[in-house]
Symmetry: C2
Subunit: 227 residues, 2 copies
């Protein structure tokens, strides 16, 4: 499903180049459940934005579902993002002027689902992440972990084949984090491909494989052995 | 240093009351190192905002350093926040139009420190959190964990007697998180009072005491025994 070959991403600050990703190669089969770990600033989020077609690489090649993404124009990229990919941002990126329910319903508008179906699915996923009684809150009226869970519900409601989560349990207590991981495991059993950035080994052990980043490169790739 | 007696905080959404903190009492002596844990949505951040004089309680009494905070006016509260308290927000709250260095220097402007001293201290704390080579980046040019560390540096630069951190390692890998905890331990040894919200037991074990929240109340308070 994912074939990243020697991906590179440089940021520019004035004349200074910041090479955030420096030649990262990775292949992920359909249905795999992968964790990405690595030090703060090692390029994980930048790499996830490349996988999620949210940003264009400076170099290298990226095939998603057999299509070479760099050859697509912006409209085609937006279509792929909306139809195939669910993205949970490290900073949630909820729209502040919409309620939790409206935030989760929004991606389904682009997918052309009727309102009743959008409402039903949004309610279903908000209940699954434990926020049944917070649906009409605005993001500023939610705790950190509650905002994060709205972002998770929003990423899942279009039934994406690829789910990318950037530290999706970073602000959740152990028990709520476990509930979210069992939700991801259910989706994994349904055949979705899931890639999560995490810094918590207890979260990574739910995955099948751990890819390690350091200084913008993949430095490790191991199977998770059951303890 | 801290004496919270039956603190309550209600939020209102239209006519609906959301009781976020429902009678939380807690005493913390000067120089203690306390962790606050509890489920997502249990009132930890709301309680921390009350302790940090960033919000007024709906009920109850709060003495900070012997002064009853509810009797102070807004100017006196701002003075206490700036002189005595360093607050690391769960969502960082960095100013987007200032660099990392400028963000860390800002609280010292209110404290009336000369520019050379502000610059020196800001540089010192940014180096201590591992961001010597990211000083002139804007928040949008920093990773999640780097933004968090700028927020930590900013909270420490005024030498506060009380340091309040809301999930300060939530987006940091284990090693960077350990570096931040050893920084907090140094500050603890200097006699500062430190209160951290965390959901990670590995972080909480660096503290001396764990206070547990559930549904807006303190439900547990135990000493950390060395493993
Ligand atoms: N401005 C607000 N208006 C209405 N309700 C709010 C507001 N802020 C927080 N809440 C609610 O109050 C409860 C407590 O919020 P708080 O942020 O203190 O929780 P928390 O323990 O810090 O959670 P987390 O671990 O997820 O960060 C939550 O259920 C939240 O929905
Ligand atoms: N827009 C930008 N402009 C310049 N530099 C950037 C920008 N975004 C990120 N960086 C830098 O690129 C590097 C990689 O950032 P990235 O967000 O991918 O790291 P990360 O592994 O996700 O870190 P964390 O675990 O702290 O979230 C960081 O050192 C950061 O300072
Ligand atoms: Mg990141
Ligand atoms: Mg919180």
């Amino acid at each position: 499903l994912i074939q990243a070959i020697d991906l590179r991403k440089d940021y520019y600050i004035g004349e200074v180049v910041i090479p955030a990703v420096r030649g990262a190669s990775l292949t992920i089969q359909r249905g795999e459940f992968v964790a990405i770990m690595g030090p703060s600033g090692s390029g994980k989020s930048t790499f996830m934005h490349l996988l999620g077609c949210l940003d264009k690489p400076t170099g290298g090649t990226y095939y998603l579902d057999g299509v070479e993404v760099s050859r697509l124009d912006d409209d085609e990229l937006a279509e792929i993002r909306n139809r195939k990919i669910g993205f949970v941002f490290q900073t949630y990126n909820l729209l502040p002027r919409m309620t939790a329910l409206e935030n989760v319903m929004l991606p389904m508008v682009y997918a052309g689902l009727p309102k009743r179906e959008r409402y039903r699915r949004a309610q279903y996923y908000l209940e699954r992440v434990g926020l049944a009684d917070r649906m009409h809150h605005y993001p500023t009226q939610l705790s950190g972990g509650e905002q994060q869970r709205v972002a998770i519900a929003r990423a899942l409601c279009n039934d994406p084949i690829l789910i990318l989560g950037d530290e999706p349990t970073g602000n959740l207590d152990t028990r709520t984090g476990e509930e979210i991981m069992s939700l991801f495991q259910d989706l994994h059993r349904e055949g979705r491909t899931i890639v999560l950035v995490t810094h918590e080994p207890d979260i990574a052990r739910h995955c099948e494989r751990i890819v390690r980043f350091r200084d913008g490169k993949v430095v490790g790739d191991e199977k998770v052995t059951e303890p």
